[in-house]
Amino acid sequence: MLSAGMVMLLRPRGLAWAAATAVSIFAFAIAIALTLTVLEVERQTYLMGSWAAPYGIELAVDAFSALLLLIVTGASSLALLVGYRSLDAEIETERQPFFYAAWLLALSGLAGILVTADAFNIFVFMEISSLAGYVLVAGGPDRRALTAVFKYLIMGTIGATFYLIGVGLIYLMTGTLNLADMEIRLQDVADIKPILVAAGFITIGLALKAAVFPLHIWLPNAYTFAPHMVTVFLAACATKVAIYVLLRFNFFVFQPNLAGHDLQFGYFLMPLAVLGILIASAVAMFESNLKRLLAWSSVAQIGYIILGASLVNLAGLSAGILHMFNHALAKGALFLTVACLGLSVARLDLNGIAGIGRQMPWTMTAFVLAGLSLIGIPGTAGFVSKWYLISAAAAHGALGIALVAVIVISSLMAVVYIWRVVQAAYFGTPQDTTTLPREAPSVLLIGVWVATLANFYFGLAPALPIELSGSAAALLLEHMP
């Protein structure tokens, strides 16, 4: 985080990018180290300023945080490492140091949310990452990004303020902000109206940030008009971190203390998840702008994650958390291919990419493969999480059958919208035959293929993510009465 300030001062354009990338990779290395530690010890804590909890702010890393830390730092590192050309093309040279500084701030904000165990600290880091995120989204040349980010800012701030109201109410009732302590103190005051209201505010606030249907309105435009590498980073991370906070709050703090809360949680979120999945996938089918199509697909994927979480059992929760990881891989790869296309093609919609499969074979093949992971074809990471999700849902009897149907139907819809792109790319006729687009720069392609192949690696050897998400789900469920 401190390096963000320094990066701003690095005027030469190559240097700012290099410094940002180095920091991001360093962060990724730390994330890997933390994951290895967490696999042995359940939870690692650190007291800031050595003030003992619950008076001081405590940092704690467990399986859930570690998994998401890997995603966040990994996505940031990959996007920065291979995105130099794409970012250079989209952002004015004088503003690049500021842009990279904002990127590092966003990364540190997201990482901060994941490692802290203090509710107010979460708010601070959440706003750091959000504000930096707004700057990142607005950094590109498309002026429609400005209105998109304005709407994102308004909705995001409302979400954060709702969260603040909720935390304030809880503080009023319990006198503590440390999550673990809150859980204990709430047992004395459980089930009073303010606690329920607080739970409501916190859930709504975080749902806004996570783009849960119907509070997802900011997402399609923000993803579409942001610089391509920013979309890679944000699509892989920002919403998932918000869901992380939502789950942690609900399970650690509320579940043990509010009678019947697990049912309320499920009843409230499940319909929203289902609607999000179906409606977002349907809209994606009719969308012709590539980025917006993938953005709507993201809303649907968030629906899957919430659906898994709303089942409130070990299988469902693990499926949802696993899907966070797998979706980050799939969408990250897809948006990376879009960045490649963005370098060579004038308009990123179905007409603009007509016939491009022949000129950019590496790029489009990666798109197809990552698309397969999104749909959930066996052998890919997407399949693993969808399988878990389906088996978790099927255990719920009649409702479960309906849920399985929803998942299958939406996967078919995913086939449709991925196919539309593939059809345009391979079977369309290019409209402008005078200037043929060239294949993307090799560095970018390497990144694309790393992400794409990761989908297959984790599809065929998913032991690590499964273990982490299983531990995470078990951790969350431990706190149920």
Binding site: L146, T147, I158
Partner: protein, 102 residues
């Protein structure tokens, strides 16, 4: 709540931001009133007067942080509005929509 209404209903972008600020200010008030202990004095520690009852300083600290966050957000929002004005020539929501979707 008035702030919230302003955010949703007013088409002028600057008014939206003002509504947002109002909304946040209300939340800050909520926190600060929480911290007041009846009959207590302000939480400034003075040597020689240790055994007085103090209002809790924690909410005040939290609010300081939240105020800073709120100001940064408002500043960023206003910056975006300025850029929108430069690009579109207007800051009314429906007019911007007209320009983008003729």
């Amino acid at each position: 709540m008035i702030g919230f209404y302003a955010v949703v209903a007013k088409p002028n972008l600057v008014k939206k931001l003002v509504g947002l600020s109002l909304f946040q200010a209300a939340v800050f008030l909520l926190y600060i009133t929480m911290g007041k202990v009846e009959g207590a004095m302000a939480p400034i520690f003075m040597a020689g007067i240790e055994d007085r009852l103090y209002s809790s300083p924690l909410p005040q600290v939290l609010i300081l942080t939240a105020i800073v966050v709120g100001i940064s957000t408002t500043a960023l929002g206003l910056g975006i509005v300025i850029r929108i004005k430069e690009e579109y020539g207007t800051i009314e929501e429906h007019e911007i929509h007209e320009i983008d979707h003729p």
